[in-house]
Amino acid sequence: MIETFNSLMMGFSVAFQPQVLMYAFFGCIIGTLVGMMPGLGPLAGISLLLPATFGLNPIIAIVLLSGVYYGAMYGGSTTSILMRIPGEAASVMTCVDGYAMTQQGRAGPALAIAAIGSFVAGTLGVIGLMLLAPTLADFALRFGPPEYTALLLMGLFVLAYMSGGSMLKTLAMAVFGLLLGMIGIDVMSGYTRFSFGITELGDGVGIVPVAVGLFGISEILMTAGQADPPKVQQPSLRQLIPTAGDLRHSAAPILRGSLLGFMIGIIPGSAHIISSFVSYGMERRLSKNPERFGHGAIEGVAGPESANNAAATGAFVPMLALGIPTGPVTAVMLAAIMVHGILPGPMLIQQQPDLFWGFVASMYVGNVVLLVLNLPMVGLFVNLLRIPYAYLYPCILAFCIVGCYSVSNNTMDVWIMLAMGVVGYVLRKFGFDLAPVALGLVLGPMLELSLRQALAMSGGEYSIFLHRPIAVTMLVIAAVMLLFAIKPLIFKGKDWRSKVGLDEPADS
């Protein structure tokens, strides 16, 4: 403990060097701006900035990139809440209740709670990372393809709690998402599926263009289809500050989200994306009045935003403890230090103590910087809503196209985004909820790959799932979740869904 404390102090001495501090600050600002760009999320942000760090020293490079990473997550929630444009898969759930709050004139509290939740989750995450990294990293390694399959199945059953509309519509949308996820090169066989000869579709349909299209573009189209222009909001200062009730409602979701996110985050792979979906489903299930979800429930912002940030920190556990990049973001981070000739590996903490502890300390600093930076800016951001829609929406549309294109310099992404905008518009007109599409698209490819990997490992024996304690435990939980979800269908009893109003358009 003393040793950890001493190392941390050493880390702070690195992080508080004026130059390092300055780059941490820059990183947070750039990240926030990048995140606010529709379509550009944390991964795109740090990938675009990676080349710029090659000339810096490794500590500064990683501090800058992690600042960008955190900043982009904050920024992403801003556009989700204000304009219903998710910067990445993880902020899809924030769009639902966050934007509903904006429409009720409560954008200020939503933004503030998102910032506070992210701060709490980020800080708790760093504490967890610092104290538990070596222990947790070895636990994380016990997650192989079979465990992953079980985890993703659990994620799939969260669907039952995601939408307030009819179960049939929810499932139809989830299947639509899963089908979209089928497009692209099959990793197992190398065959391309459903690409219709378009090379760019070989890598599949990205979640970002789909999410921006379904949520953002469709919203613009919906607004354009209204007879009267929506009223421009004039938020007053009083409305910006979360009420005591908001804070009370948010406290538990923030803590639950932090814990959940951190646990999911340390698992190698891209599973951290599902943390915000799972958190949303969990909050809705635990809530005394689930009918508020989808119509501006602050818990629906607090939980997923915290889970998302805690997961981001959790993802650093295996990266730092073992030198293993567990997801695309950590892979880019490790590339940033590899360029300087530092090979990541299990010796990273011992060989580069100032890098590790400087990084940990700078994460504390970054979280504080972001809170300080973002809370006062809530007022500024909310004022964007004063811009008349006739001017605001064309600008957003342009930004969506530029952002989407710049992720991989690929016009196909722009077409996907625009097509999904039209699809989203039509679906919303028919009262379909769109979040399950995003979850299906995220889960589909991962679930398929891990299931087939597990079966390849076992030579086709499904018993592999029963020989592994972690997988069995999670499958049992998933089965229980499934039973709870189908209970009302069998017994026709009253459940939370009946309070929601079955066939009301969930989202209008």
Partner: protein, 323 residues
Amino acid sequence: MRIVLQAVMVVVLAAVWPALAQQQYPVKPVRLIVPFAPGGPNDILGRLVGQKLTEQWGQPVIIENRGGAGGTIGLEAAVRSPKDGYTLAMGGTSNLTVAPSLYEKLTYDPLKDVTPIINVAAVPYALAVNPTVPAKTARELIPIASRKTGYLSYGSSGMGSMSSLAAELFKSMSKTQIVHVPYKGTAPALTDVVSGQIDLMFADLALIKPFAERGRLRAIGVTGLKRSVAMKELPTVAESGLPGYDIEPWFGVITTEGAPRAVVTRVNAAIAAALKSPDVLQRLAALGYEPLGGTPEQFAATIKSDISKYATVVKAAGIKAEL
């Protein structure tokens, strides 16, 4: 009068411009396409080369990451560019030599649509096993792998990737049946070898080395015919029990077919000089990459011979993909 003078100047300039351009390549910024996302070996080498060329020419060399479809999207963009030598690309074994046998409908022909400029560096691969596998050499590994089909499993960064082809060549040469478990990328596959979910993997030596030093992986051998300077004590797979085994991925700079010969020579000379500068050598050594260099003709010969080599490997492995 002034108008006339200006007009005359424009005409004169237009007449001599092509000649000037030829003499002073590059007269404008040069584009270097990296057909992968930032952060991989291809990107690192591309940026290293780009930086050196910028210094030598005083013209910016702009790196453009065009990832996707195993590096074929970026390469296609490069070969479809104007034939003036202002668009270069960092190609590699995968998109220049494997892709033709892997993809039935590849949209470019590496032998016809590409002008090779210079082979930049080899990125040594190595075979690593989880330490629970009781084999220290390829000779010891083969009998274990032949015990029964699926006794051992290998991870790769996807069907048709270099890591899968290295393993498939190993399988067909040693007549073993090791089960293939593909992943999306090298990192998750390597993670599962470290944790023992799967038994072995062929991957960049630079990634394996830190784990081998800590005992979390056991390196069996490098895949090329020569030992790597990064880990001199590590034998080649060929000398440790599988004679003739040879896989050595490389990355090199190409441009469009029909680019001016003078430009090709100039770029070749500039990169060859860069590959001799101490800081480049130091950066490459730190990552375990080995500088190659050579003439455009030598590079063309390498591409040609590797295409037929990987055609055999892909056929033996029974991989067939379409695009």
